[in-house]
Amino acid sequence: MRIRTLWMWIGIASLIACALTVAAFMAIMLFDLGKQGIPVLSWEFLTGFPRQGMTAGGIWPAIFGTAVVTLLATLLTAPLGVACAVWLEEYASESILTQLTRAAVRNLAGVPSIVYGLFGLAIFVEGMHMGASILASACTLALLTLPSVIATTEEALRQVPRALREGALALGATRWETTYSVVLPTALPGILTGVILALSRAAGETAPILFTGVAFYTRYLPASPFDEFMALPYHLYILATQHHDPELVRPLAYGTAVALLLLVFLLNLVAFIIRAQYHPKKRL
């Protein structure tokens, strides 16, 4: 009896150790980044251009580039993803086509981001002659985030009670009217959560924009969608590994990392709040 109890506590302790390890890694990482990075963040750092061969100055063009390309990608992917999910959930009856679509979406979700980068390079940059540009990168990121937007929208549509649809149809609404004025507004918080999470993923991705438009350094902010741009994640990569004096620019790298993390966490927080607001019971 004693031995059994002893084993139980050893087992439970090892599970606690697993949880502690995971939490500790996260805590140490965030603590180190925060300790070294937050003091770097100043108004001048956030709004200035890089100066003196990136050894001084700020990251404004990288913030601007990331914001523009991410928003553009979302503008492209959100309508497309929602339309696809609506078609799958509200319109199409089970058929080979829906099964194919679902299989494609599932498999696309597992395709490595660097492969999306190659696809973007061959199709958008070279094939469609967009050149290395904001537009080409945004299209690539849009394709990358499409599967997750479709999946979360489908999930949100499935949460809408059947009775709402039947009520609308019984009142004489067409299927489109039902979808547009009853189902979509009800599912909106869930869809929005998915879109914001896709936004956060697109903001942090580097591999897909590597060959499709991101630049080492630009003198001016991009003026048109066909210009190259700077981006936060790529800037961090450059500062951390490609700079001629990585130790010298380490504080700037820390600052960039923290700025990127804050941006991504902020988006996740917004998504979390929206979800908590509208599904207070479902989460618990």
Partner: protein, 295 residues
């Protein structure tokens, strides 16, 4: 009036269907693009040489060589290391969350796990350079800590959120009656966990781990920054390795379009694409079997 309403209904029915084709077209497009460009590569290189242990040295002045053996081994080594770390930690944490932790702690830890999933891969790579690397160098007395082990540790933590959240769902799905029956027979919590709950969700946990591996294999920036990128044959966890993803990321930007080297990089991507596709497919099969049994 009615006519217009029906027109719009039909209009949207058809236009929405078009949007579904984008996903199919993208997947097929990616495959075709990789396949066609790889085909061009293989007319010059030959499958035998490509998959050989010859050096990867496409930029050599006189005789370029295109063996991806060392790169595949680099990918395998980092991914395997990541799996060995992430599988027990992830499953352990999932058990902790769903069976041991009090509600409050669980509600605190779950958002942290979600936040972990949101950390961009460059930030992970940066952590590898400034935190994990120096730590490994100090502990094992190495000149620098940029090696396969570093990549494994980082990839493990990138795969963990996937492993944890899917495993937790799987553990939660085990019927309550199983556990109650076990308790009624006098088993304690640990015995119930190991002898009843764990066997009941083996295949689900396997699927969770495989999806985690799928994520780790395709990861680019993290390994690019943290594993040192030597193209030599790796000799162990402490040697500097270069993965397939990192090779594509490093070389694609510099290679001229239309050269053998250019097409060879597409062939690398095709190999990667096929590996991740089959892992995801296998995971799906495992999960599907689970669903069928559950009903």
């Amino acid at each position: 009036m009615t006519g217009r309403r029906y027109f719009w209904n039909r209009f949207f029915e058809n236009s929405l269907a078009v949007s579904a084709f984008v996903s199919i077209a993208t997947l097929v497009g990616i495959f075709l693009l990789l396949a066609v460009n790889s085909w061009k590569a293989f007319t010059y290189i030959g499958l035998g040489e490509f998959f050989s242990l010859n050096a990867w040295n496409p930029a050599a002045y006189d005789t370029p060589s295109y063996g991806i053996g060392a790169l595949l081994l680099g990918t395998a080594l980092t991914t395997l290391g990541a799996t060995v770390i992430a599988a027990p930690l992830g499953v352990g944490m999932a058990f902790f969350l769903s069976e041991i932790a009090p509600m409050r702690l669980r509600n605190l830890l779950k958002p942290i796990v979600e936040l972990m999933a949101a950390v961009p891969s460059v930030v992970m790579g940066f952590t590898g350079i400034v935190l994990v690397g120096p730590f490994l160098a100090k502990v094992f007395g190495l000149p620098n800590g940029l090696n396969a082990l570093n990549g494994s540790i980082l990839l493990a933590f990138m795969a963990l959120p996937t492993v944890i959240s899917i495993s937790e769902d799987v553990v939660q799905a085990v019927p309550r009656a199983y556990k109650e029956a076990s308790y009624a027979l006098g088993a304690n919590r640990w015995e119930t966990l190991i002898r009843v709950t764990l066997p009941a969700c083996y295949s689900g946990l396997l699927a969770a781990i495989m999806l985690g591996i799928g994520r780790a294999i395709g990861e680019t920036m993290t390994v690019l920054m943290a594993t040192g990128n030597a193209t030599a044959m790796p000799s162990g966890l402490f040697s500097s390795v270069r993965t397939i993803t990192a090779t594509v990321a490093i070389e694609m930007g510099e290679v001229p379009t239309g050269t053998t080297h250019y097409y060879a990089l597409f062939a690398c991507a095709l190999v990667l694409f096929l590996i991740t596709l089959s892992i995801n497919f296998a995971a799906e099969r495992v999960a599907a079997r689970l669903r069928k049994r559950g009903q």
